[in-house]
């Protein structure tokens, strides 16, 4: 699935975000929710997990525990909760967007009253089949849920199983959420624009080939002899990939100037590799990309 201007890694999600996620594998589907839950717990937020209705809560907790330190303890103290859409809208039997949005507002308020910084929910869209919903109604809810996120106290991931939903529905949902997540933690994707390269995710030993290929493509025919490489959506930049970037900048003959936009820790690593520094490279340090 392609990356674009609103693609981020799950590690960069925060309260106020409404995100699309996708999977097509029964093991991989746990990874994004697990990292999302882990981030929430470590930031003092409450996390409600609504996975596939066919999955018992204990199994879900065990799956998440691979990424989430102290998942059982968090569950015991009420910070990590396993629920379902059916349970959320209870005692109503059928789904309405109004009922669901109202209940999520109540849960957010409750989380704040319990002393948490906010509420995160991760919702596997398998509930659509479980409640016999028409997909059109769900799509309308997804596109009109903006008010839930306005006060910055609530974040939500909707995960779509690509085996269950029509590809056109999945793509429409991807573009209509405020952010779209990489399929897996550890992935790397590139988003190209004329003279610009945006890298998203983790640049490390496993994704080094993708990293080098993306940088090489960006340097092939830049307009005006200039290029921008934006690293601010990277969650991790290994020394090897940082060195590869500097090496590729030094080797290209087609560029007068390369601007590398990055966060301070990334700039620090690039400066430590100053032995590979080259003329025409400009480091543009910025805060968080979001």
């Amino acid at each position: 699935m392609r990356a674009d201007a609103h693609t981020i890694a799950v590690e960069q999600m925060r309260l106020g975000d409404h995100a699309f996620a996708h999977y097509a594998d029964d093991d991989i589907r746990w990874e994004v929710p697990a990292v999302f839950a882990n981030q929430g717990l470590s930031h003092g937020e409450k996390v409600i997990v609504m996975m596939d209705p066919g999955c018992p809560a204990d199994d879900a907790c065990e799956r998440l525990a691979a990424f989430v330190g102290g998942a059982d303890e968090a569950r015991d103290r009420g910070q990590l909760v396993f629920s379902s859409m059916r349970e959320l809208i209870s005692p109503e039997k059928s789904f309405t967007a109004r009922r669901q949005l109202g209940r999520l507002r109540q849960e957010t308020e409750l989380a704040r009253q319990e002393g948490f910084a906010g509420l995160r929910t991760v919702i596997d869209m398998a509930w659509v089949d479980d409640l016999g919903m028409a997909v059109e109604g769900v799509m309308a809810r997804e596109k009109n849920a903006g008010s839930l996120f306005e006060n910055g106290q609530y974040a939500e991931i909707c995960t779509y199983d690509r085996r269950r939903f029509d590809p056109a529905v999945v793509e429409e949902m991807r573009v209509s959420h405020r952010v779209a997540l990489l399929e897996r933690p550890g992935d790397l994707q590139a988003h190209h624009a004329p003279g610009e390269l945006y890298l998203i995710g983790d640049a490390d030993m496993a994704t080094g080939d993708i990293f080098r290929a993306a940088v090489s493509v960006a340097f092939e025919a830049p307009p005006d002899g200039q290029a921008l490489v934006d690293l601010t959506r990277l969650c991790f930049l290994s020394a090897g990939c940082a060195g590869d970037l500097l090496r590729l900048i030094a080797q290209t003959g087609a560029l007068d100037k390369v601007v590398v936009r990055c966060r301070p820790p990334q700039a620090k690593i690039l400066r430590r590799l100053r032995v590979m520094w080259t003329g025409g490279l400009v480091l543009e340090e910025t805060g968080d990309s979001r």
Binding site: G186, D202, D204, M205
Partner: protein
């Protein structure tokens, strides 16, 4: 490292994203600020790559807090450092190698932390490499 308990895990290549997450969490729980956490994660990642590439494809991590510092030990069951080639972590053989050369990762790990110990022979045995990093927590950091 909930409640001060050490973080222990075995890892192979596919576990590196999870390892980074757990190390970052443990470092934050120990009191390191965001930048120091990120630097420790990178340093540990470089050592883990060394273990995977040169130490038999897998390794072990032990992260604990003691005496106002975070200590992180990465060990493997590979051939260890040859007698004549125990790396000098103060020189960059190839600082940007993703541990293609062991000294590169060690050099960077040294740059990013407050101390590093390199030993041969995991658990007293003849094989394997054991590298321990130390980062001081904020209250006792020198700078």
């Amino acid at each position: 490292m909930t409640g001060g308990a050490p973080l222990q895990m075995r890892f192979a290549g596919a576990d590196l994203p999870r390892l980074r997450l757990r190390v970052g969490d443990a470092a934050a729980a120990a009191g390191l600020d965001e930048d120091r956490c990120e630097e420790l994660v990178l340093a540990v990642y470089e050592l883990a790559c060394n273990a995977i590439l040169h130490g038999g494809g897998a390794g072990r991590l032990l992260l604990s807090r003691a005496d106002g510092s975070v200590r992180c030990r990465v060990s493997d069951d590979g051939p260890g450092f040859p007698d004549a080639a125990t790396p000098d972590p103060t020189t960059p053989d190839d600082a940007a190698s993703d541990a293609a050369i062991p000294g590169g990762g060690l050099w960077l790990a040294r740059q990013l932390t407050d101390g590093i110990e390199i030993n041969r022979g995991a658990d007293g045995g003849p094989g394997g490499a054991v590298v321990t990093l130390m980062v001081r927590c904020r209250s006792t950091a020198a700078s």
